[in-house]
């Protein structure tokens, strides 16, 4: 037993007020330097880095529900950097690096667990696509390799190598693939940000954005009006609706994404395994549950309902890959709402409204970018709108130029 636990047992009135990770509600003041709309992972990470690296603490995070209750709470906690474009590999690579140090930085265990991610290729065309990803990853210093059936068998002995008449021909092995306790990431950032003076306001919904002469001056909320110097919008799943309040449109279509989890069993699989062809990915959590995910629902919808057809197809494919999983028992099925852009890359940086910064279009891959996103958005804010190099390619204005960052092949069913 680690020494640090002793103190909890020996202190009679634990927890004291100073043990709280998240401070109680504040009065909402009428003016802040920075307002962050959205208290999910990205929003609190931005606040954290603003306070930590730039000394900017007169910041309010406005969250309409509870801390980390949107897609931060609903994702399947996969962290990886094996993307398809140079821009993506660099960006997500920086994110993985930050993730690795977060527990010690926060003094709060986010349970970062490096397991490796294995993506399966069942056709020659998939092999070519994975070869490209492995090549791009290694070209830019990432850790991915195209591996053959023998190595796959060694990594995941319980995998059926011929599922659903789709023989496993090769795999993309990404040793940096990892998972973490997703909620804890948001809590850790919130803890660090609020300790430095940032205010987190839950149950505070932004109902309007005040823009004067093309510049943002404040926001309206269910708790009153707030003036501010600048705004960061980080509201995954509702980005287009929020942007509309600020007076512009985003090239985003919204699709529900479902996932599910089984009852816990003793550990039997270490790596994260995914099969884009079978629209299925699988991982075992630290608690022993199996988390399963699939592709997005086929039609745009602002709804987090679950559906039976998706559950049937996902589980039937999971059983094709791992026949014995048929004995597992399902615990829950849920959904998140995802902002999908046409190139499957995010939108970060400036917007048509001066002082109104965007962090949107995170589709199904927002969680894994949380720290780097917060860090670069904080740089953007602190620099008064100077866009950091790392996120320059993800500007909103790229769509006007059709200079898109095509990550389509690297996002489908392999979160």
């Amino acid at each position: 037993m680690p020494f640090s636990l002793l103190k909890y047992g020996l202190r009679k009135d634990y927890p004291f007020e100073e043990d709280a990770d998240i401070p109680s509600a504040h009065k909402l003041r009428d003016s802040y330097d920075v307002v962050i709309i959205g208290g999910g992972g990205h929003g609190v990470a931005t606040a954290y880095y603003l306070a930590k690296y730039h000394g900017i603490t007169n910041v309010a995070i406005l969250e309409k529900g509870y801390l980390g209750g949107g897609n931060t709470a609903r994702n399947t906690a996969v962290i990886r950097s094996n993307y398809l474009t140079p821009e993506g590999v660099r960006f997500y690579g920086a994110s993985v690096e930050l993730f690795q140090g977060l527990s010690n930085e926060f003094d709060f265990n986010i349970m970062y667990s490096r397991r490796g991610q294995l993506t399966l290729a069942h056709t020659e065309s998939a092999v070519s696509a994975f070869r490209q990803r492995a090549e791009i990853n290694t070209h830019y210093g990432g850790k991915s390799a195209l591996i053959g059936p023998d190595e796959i068998r060694k990594l995941v002995p319980c995998l059926n190598m011929n599922p659903a008449h789709m023989p496993v021909l090769a795999g993309l092995w990404h040793i940096d693939g990892a998972t973490a306790r997703h909620d804890a990431v948001a809590w850790g950032f919130a803890k660090g940000a609020t300790q430095r003076g940032v205010e987190l306001h839950q149950l505070t919904e932004v109902t309007g954005v005040d823009v004067e002469n093309g510049k943002v001056t404040g926001v309206q909320t269910n708790r009153g009006k707030v003036r501010c110097g600048c705004v960061v919008q980080a509201v995954a799943g509702h980005s287009a609706l929020m942007a509309e309040k600020a007076g512009f449109r985003l090239p985003i279509t919204v699709y529900p994404l479902q996932a599910m989890v089984t009852q816990p069993v003793k550990p039997f699989i270490d790596p994260l395994v995914s099969s884009p062809a079978l629209h299925c990915y699988v991982q075992q959590t630290g608690r022993g549950e199996i988390v399963l995910g699939s592709g997005s629902d086929p039609y745009p919808l602002y709804n987090t309902r679950s559906t039976l057809p998706l559950k049937e197809s996902l589980l039937s494919n999971a059983v094709a890959l791992f026949p014995f999983m048929s004995q597992l028992r399902m615990l829950r099925q849920w959904a998140g709402i995802t902002d999908i852009t046409s190139d499957y890359s995010p939108i970060m940086g400036l917007s048509p409204v001066q002082g109104y910064y965007l962090d949107a279009g995170w589709g199904t891959w927002g969680f894994k970018s949380t720290p780097i996103c917060g860090k670069t958005m904080a740089e953007l804010v602190a620099g008064g709108g100077t866009v950091p190099d790392l996120i320059k390619p993800f500007s909103l204005e790229r769509f006007e130029r059709f200079a898109q960052i095509n990550e389509m092949g690297a996002t489908a069913a392999s979160h």
């Binding site: 990770d21 094709a320 597992l328």
Partner: protein, 963 residues
């Protein structure tokens, strides 16, 4: 046991032998594993998740995680839902050593060092140490063990349809089913338990007893009703939109489509939170009643009842009447609602102790079963006085009230609001067509429950258009919930959540640490995240969090109730795990000819004819044969869509980049489809069969998406087109090569196939070898060729006829890999292989296929902008001299140190004797003669020359009949 057990579910007296933890036991037919163990005095059935505490049945109806056992290869099986069978062998799970002597039970002593969320506060210093701790913790987590060698057993699915689905066959459900079916509706009645009647089968609804049996006798009419189908032992595990209900019975998943749903899903009896409230032998009152009535088990010798309502007092009467010595009823209330209960208790010499609670319990013996309870007076909500009395007992039955089974109603959109006057949650606001009845609707007296069932059925009937009067809502004055049944103890272990071993202070401390929202409390403490998904923890958690955060219980609420309601096996959803692949009618001909089959989309196709170790040789010789003589390929997997209607041309105009207005009947046109972003997403050949009739092909893997887009847009634009995906209805072959017209003539056709009569890109209909066929003169592989489509049932005959007729010309079949090589030589791209999710027509050299004059097509604006803009990249054709390495598809194209593209297609061309390919490269290099640098597999740069397409037959003469 000396006396034969008599219970509703016990169906015989022949002993059923089974083993648990290696020990032999004997039960009776009709027992569950849990009841048989209880009948043998085996209360200890599981160990808890965190502290490894001994646990026994709580609800005895599958509503808790206290009976999870390992059943052979199957982990986490509910013993109280598992029918006993001869030779069954089960064991406990999640222990070190044995269930009785679990080495990990010492973890309980360290509980104070494991406060709520302790794992967030430790195990990470110094950096890197977590990697080691994680391994230890992972092993401790999890419950049962999965056998990774085990195959899925047989499970299947069936659709069911009904007017009204009634979930729950208790009094409310039975009454609803009868009311609805009597009026003429077809009813599906779904009951989780193996019997109908619900609590009428075991609960005492009146002080005298007997009323329930009389009522049930009446309601049993459902069993013979011609319009009611009853599924017992069947769990409705969710409510999905539009009354789509998954119902699991045995190894089958029924997918029920109902027009209306009556949810008579009952209420979940709630426990009392006190020190050691989890010991084996401490059960819900309903569990003790079930033991007696269903299985004929005497639950204990010396019982104590901890009451929060009249129901639990009546349970005491039932126990006493069954011969159990009931020492006392400890009632948390000041008095019973029904004064007659006092008389009835005293008649049975049961002490009635009002205003008191059990404050702590003690267990003893090898199973840790309860042996003593300490009772104390309640002085204020949650607080007790100092005068304690200890009562010996081996059974403690408790009830603090009921929580409506909120899961299905909430999935149907209902919201929970807490009513202080009844100290309970009430449901309202569910979707149209969903009707609540009975105790889920907070109605508790038997008569009112039946009335409420009839009312709900009437409402459903009215919604279906039946002329019925819908009665006013039924009211019930009963107040079965005690408002604060939670008593903190200095030693803790007052469990709020049994699944997750969460004590009262864990919930309160989570709020003190800043996790104040009920969702955050759940996520931080894990309350409600266990196998029973908060059935017993939701209500006390809501009360505790509300108090700790100064909000109302309504504001606090409970966390979202997601499907499934009860744990369901993955196997039930997976079904028979059929992954059928599609075969064309000529499939076995390919096998006979020695084809190497590969998956292409849903289909199996010949890659080439021969052994995989000879692949390259096979492909090259098949290719040369097509170039020099004649070949035949099965292209039946191509998507095929038939469009008929006055707006057929208009729909195509809007969905494809070409114009179809002036297209002549009897001609074909290459068609590419772009999405809103101007990205090429599919291609095919459109044939005009008539003024209002088109036949269009799509890519093998894209046709489902294309068809879906067509039907969606047709509806959205309100066009008048009948669209049919006829992919499987037609077989198709491509007869290609300089001798192909001779083979066609030899096979016999009434189509004029002369050069003038059937020019390139024309479409004809006629007979081929006596089969009605659709013929297209297209040239995907770059030779004279005929694509011939016939009804699928004649596919094999067509294949045989062409092979037979071609024998004189040396015809050979060729596969899809060969076709890929041939089309590459010709410079035709494959959507999906040579395009990616961003490829615009201009980048693909396909501007010629985009009509510039049409007013609109999907993606037109983007395509136009892209045409104006300087694009960054281009799909280029490149060559490497013979003898050079053939770079693999997917390798990168470099521009200095940066990646500028990749190879999409590449092969050695036997016809041209050089390596040819297509690649994405910087548009600076799109001019023929330019050089691109490929990063080879070994990392060495490989310089290739950009050339003009096509590689083969630049004069375009090969597609014509050769002189």
């Amino acid at each position: 046991m000396s006396k034969q057990r008599q219970g509703l579910l016990i169906t015989g007296d022949a002993p059923v032998q089974f083993t648990f933890e290696g020990q032999r036991f004997s039960g009776l037919p009709g027992d569950t594993l849990a009841s048989a163990l209880l009948a043998n005095g085996q209360w200890l059935q599981s160990r808890s998740f965190k502290y490894h505490r001994p646990r026994g049945p709580l609800s005895l109806s599958g509503q808790d995680a206290n009976t999870l056992v390992q059943l052979g290869p199957e982990p986490n099986v509910l013993a109280d839902r598992t029918p006993l069978s001869e030779g069954l062998s089960a064991s406990g799970q999640n222990y070190v050593g044995s269930l009785a002597k679990d080495g990990d039970s010492r973890l309980g002593f360290f509980g104070r060092f494991m406060p709520v969320g302790f794992y967030y506060r430790a195990f990470y210093k110094p950096r890197g140490i977590w990697d080691r701790w994680e391994k230890v913790i992972r092993k401790k987590a999890g419950l049962g063990v999965l056998d990774t060698q085990r195959e899925a057993g047989y499970h299947d699915k069936q659709y069911l349809f009904c007017d009204i689905a009634v979930v729950g066959a208790g009094p409310a459900g039975l009454a609803a089913a009868l009311r609805a079916a009597d009026a003429g509706a077809s009813v599906l009645l779904i009951e989780q338990d193996p019997y109908i009647g619900g609590s009428l089968a075991w609960h005492r609804y009146d002080v005298q007893g007997g009323a329930a049996a009389a009522m049930l006798a009446d309601l049993r009419r459902v069993e013979a009703h011609p319009r009611i189908r009853t599924l017992t032992d069947a769990t409705c595990n969710a409510w999905f939109a539009d009354h789509y209900l998954p119902v699991i019975q045995g190894t089958r998943l029924y997918k029920v489509r109902a027009k209306q749903t009556v949810l008579a899903s009952g209420a979940l009896e709630q426990h009392v939170v006190f020190h050691n409230n989890d010991l084996p032998g401490i059960v819900l009152c309903s569990a003790a009643e079930r033991m007696l009535a269903l299985y004929g088990i005497t639950p204990g010798n010396k019982a104590l009842v901890l009451a929060g309502n009249d129901q639990s007092c009546r349970s005491a009467l039932t126990l006493a009447d069954a011969g159990v010595q009931v020492s006392a009823v400890v009632d948390m209330r000041a008095s019973p609602d029904d004064p007659a209960l006092l008389q009835a208790l005293s008649e049975r010499a049961i002490r009635y102790i009002p205003g008191h609670t059990v404050y702590s319990a003690r267990g003893s013996g090898s199973q840790g079963r309860i042996s003593q309870a300490e009772i104390r007076p309640i002085t204020a909500p949650g607080e007790v006085g100092n005068t304690a009395e200890t009562i010996d007992c081996d059974l403690l039955c408790m009830s603090s009230g009921y929580m409506p089974a909120w899961q299905l109603p909430c999935q149907a959109g209902a919201k929970l609001s807490y009513q202080d006057e009844v100290a309970g949650f009430r449901l309202s606001g569910q979707a149209a067509g969903v009707h609540l009845a009975g105790s889920v609707n907070n109605i508790f007296t038997a008569e009112a429950v039946v009335k409420d069932g009839e009312r709900a059925a009437a409402a459903a009937l009215a919604a279906l258009g039946y002329d019925v009067d819908v009665p006013e809502s039924v009211s019930c004055a009963l107040r079965p919930n005690y408002d604060w049944p939670m008593f903190a103890h200095p030693k803790g272990k007052e469990f709020v959540d049994f699944d997750e071993d969460l004590q009262l202070r864990d919930i309160v401390n989570a709020t003190r640490m800043g996790y104040r929202d009920i969702q955050l409390v759940k996520r931080f403490s894990t309350v409600g995240m266990g196998p029973s998904q908060g059935r017993h923890s939701a209500l006390p958690t809501a009360r505790l969090v509300a108090k700790a955060t100064g909000r109302t219980i309504s504001e606090t609420g409970v966390t979202t109730a997601r499907p499934p309601f009860a744990p369901e096996k993955v196997a039930h959803n997976a079904g028979r795990v059929l992954h059928p692949y599609r075969q064309t009618p000529m499939h076995h001909r390919h096998l006979e000819a020695g084809a190497h089959m590969v998956p292409v989309g849903d289909w199996q196709r010949p890659a080439y004819y021969g052994q995989p170790d000879q692949a390259r040789h096979c492909i090259e010789s098949e290719a040369m044969h097509v170039r020099n003589a004649v070949g035949l390929i099965d292209v039946g997997t191509l998507g095929k869509i038939e469009l008929r209607g006055p707006d057929a041309a208009e729909l195509l105009n809007r969905l494809y980049t070409a114009s179809f207005d002036n297209m002549e009947i009897g001609s074909t046109r290459y068609a590419i489809m772009t999405n809103e972003h101007g990205v090429v997403i599919d291609d095919g050949v459109a044939c005009r069969l008539g003024e209002t009739h088109f036949y269009i092909t799509a890519t093998t893997s894209g046709v489902t998406r294309v068809y879906r887009a067509m039907t969606q847009w047709n509806a959205q634009w309100r066009l008048d087109v009948d669209i049919l995906n006829v992919t499987g209805a037609f077989a198709a072959v491509n007869l290609a090569g300089p001798l192909s017209h001779k083979v066609l003539a030899a096979a016999g056709t009434d189509v004029d196939i002369s050069a003038a009569g059937f020019p390139y890109l024309a479409y004809r209909e006629g007979q081929v070898a006596g089969i009605s066929a659709r013929l297209m003169r297209v040239g995907f592989v770059g030779e004279l060729g005929y694509e011939i489509h016939v009804p699928a049932r004649y596919g094999e005959a067509l294949w045989d006829a062409l092979i037979k007729a071609g024998r004189a010309f040396g015809i050979k079949p060729f596969g899809v890999d060969t076709q890929r090589l041939l089309r590459l030589e010709k410079g035709h791209l494959i959507v999906g292989q040579d395009t990616d999710g961003m490829s615009h027509p201009g980048e693909l050299n396909l501007n010629w296929a985009v009509d510039r004059k049409k007013p609109f097509f999907v993606g037109q604006r983007s395509v136009a902008i892209m045409k104006r803009e300087q694009t960054q990249r281009h799909l280029v054709a490149f060559e490497l001299p013979a003898g050079s390495e053939t770079p693999a598809e997917g390798l990168l194209v470099l521009e200095g140190a940066e990646v500028s593209g990749k190879i999409t297609s590449c092969a050695y061309s036997p016809t041209l004797d050089k390596v040819i390919g297509l690649a994405w490269a910087s548009s600076a290099h799109k001019k023929p003669g330019s050089q691109i640098v490929i990063k080879s597999a070994g990392g060495e740069p490989l310089t290739a020359t950009v050339v003009k397409l096509p590689f083969y037959d630049k004069a375009l003469s090969r597609q014509e009949i050769q002189a």
